[in-house]
Amino acid sequence: MQEKSGCEKCKNCDEEKATPQWKNDFPISWDGDHYVSRREMVKFLTLGSSLLAAANWLVAWVWHRGRKETFPSSLIGSVAALKKEKSILFRYPTDKDPCIAVCTPSGELVAYSQVCTHLSCAVIYKEEELFCPCHNGVFELRVGRPTAGPPTRPLPRITLEQRGDRLFATGVEVTA
């Protein structure tokens, strides 16, 4: 604004009419300088936060992709044994991750992580439900959703695959 009023007064106005862009970026007046500082700040915040968001998505995507491919397929027992025993314990994907496979009353085969989502006690198959004896947490069998007690998150589900009589664990599905 000030630059303009100064321009009207000057005698060589015609020569200086076209103000180069760099002069607008480095104004001499206080007001102009404050305006540029504010604009730079907003630009920095906008670009910075969008960059941060993009980086977050990228990291999540890379991690997600990497994670999916790392699950091995491992033999956990025979279908006949599971149907007979009703539930069997196994470790998947590593030796430190206890899991439980259950044959539901309707004959469906499901498997979940044995680690309770409340305080990490081991859940057991009891009365057509998965029961955590530590604090009386109960998960239903169909999708592992908590139905009673303190747990709020469902159990991570282990995907199963039948190859003839042999039963394989092929992956872990964590639902929110």
């Binding site: 000030q2 100064g6 000057c10 005698k11 001499i28 007046s29 206080w30 007001d31 300088d33």
Partner: protein
């Protein structure tokens, strides 16, 4: 902000150095004096002239600054360089037609008169004008100065082909409307003067 302006009346200066001392007590640059008290032909005259920043409408010091460190306030006062930006290149020292900016070696930064912005921005008289006993430096309204002084205030300067308009006025004889500053060839040199082994002024000038 006030409607007072700064006036320099060189002919009234008595060289008492009060402005120099007062300037160094200013809160914006405590301990360092920003005012230049020049001697004029020291050998032949006792005339002195105070030089404060003239606060150009289009400050050349700010235009040549490569670091974007010199800023002008909305009321037309050109500020000292900004500490985080000044790179101490002395471009402004070279460019100023009045020779005002001072490069401070100790802090590697340019400092200049800012019309005691802590004072003048709230309507107080700048330090130098407040102490000047002869009225060579005055901070008052244009109307008041026109009524009380014989000369006329002028704030337009011509350096060669360049016209510079300033916030600070100088008092000149009534027939002058623009101060024209040209190159002056100094003819008086130490060699052209008769020998005087006790002439201290000559020793200082040569």
């Amino acid at each position: 902000m006030t409607n007072a302006d700064f006036f320099i009346d060189y002919s009234r200066c008595i060289g008492c150095q009060a402005c120099v001392q007062a300037c160094s007590e200013c809160d914006t640059h405590r301990g360092v004096s920003m005012i230049h008290l020049e001697t004029i032909e020291r050998r032949d005259s006792v005339q002195t002239a105070p030089q404060v920043c003239m606060h150009c409408e289009d400050p050349i010091c700010a235009r040549v600054c490569p670091a974007d460190a010199i800023k002008k306030t909305p009321d037309g006062v050109v500020q000292s360089s900004l500490k985080p930006r000044c790179i101490g290149c002395s471009n402004c020292v070279m460019a100023c037609p009045f020779g005002v900016p001072k490069y401070q070696v100790a802090i590697d930064q340019m400092m200049k008169c800012d019309m005691c912005y802590d004072r003048s921005s709230v309507g107080k008289t700048p330090m130098c004008a407040a102490v000047c006993p002869s009225g060579a430096l005055t901070y008052t309204t244009l109307r008041n100065i026109q009524q009380t002084r014989p000369g006329v205030p002028v704030n337009e300067w011509q350096f060669g082909k360049e016209i510079v308009r300033t916030k600070v006025y100088v008092m000149v004889p009534p027939e002058i409307s623009r101060v024209e500053v040209g190159l002056v060839q100094i003819t008086t040199t130490a060699a052209s003067l008769p020998d005087d082994p006790y002439d201290v002024a000559l020793m200082l000038e040569s």
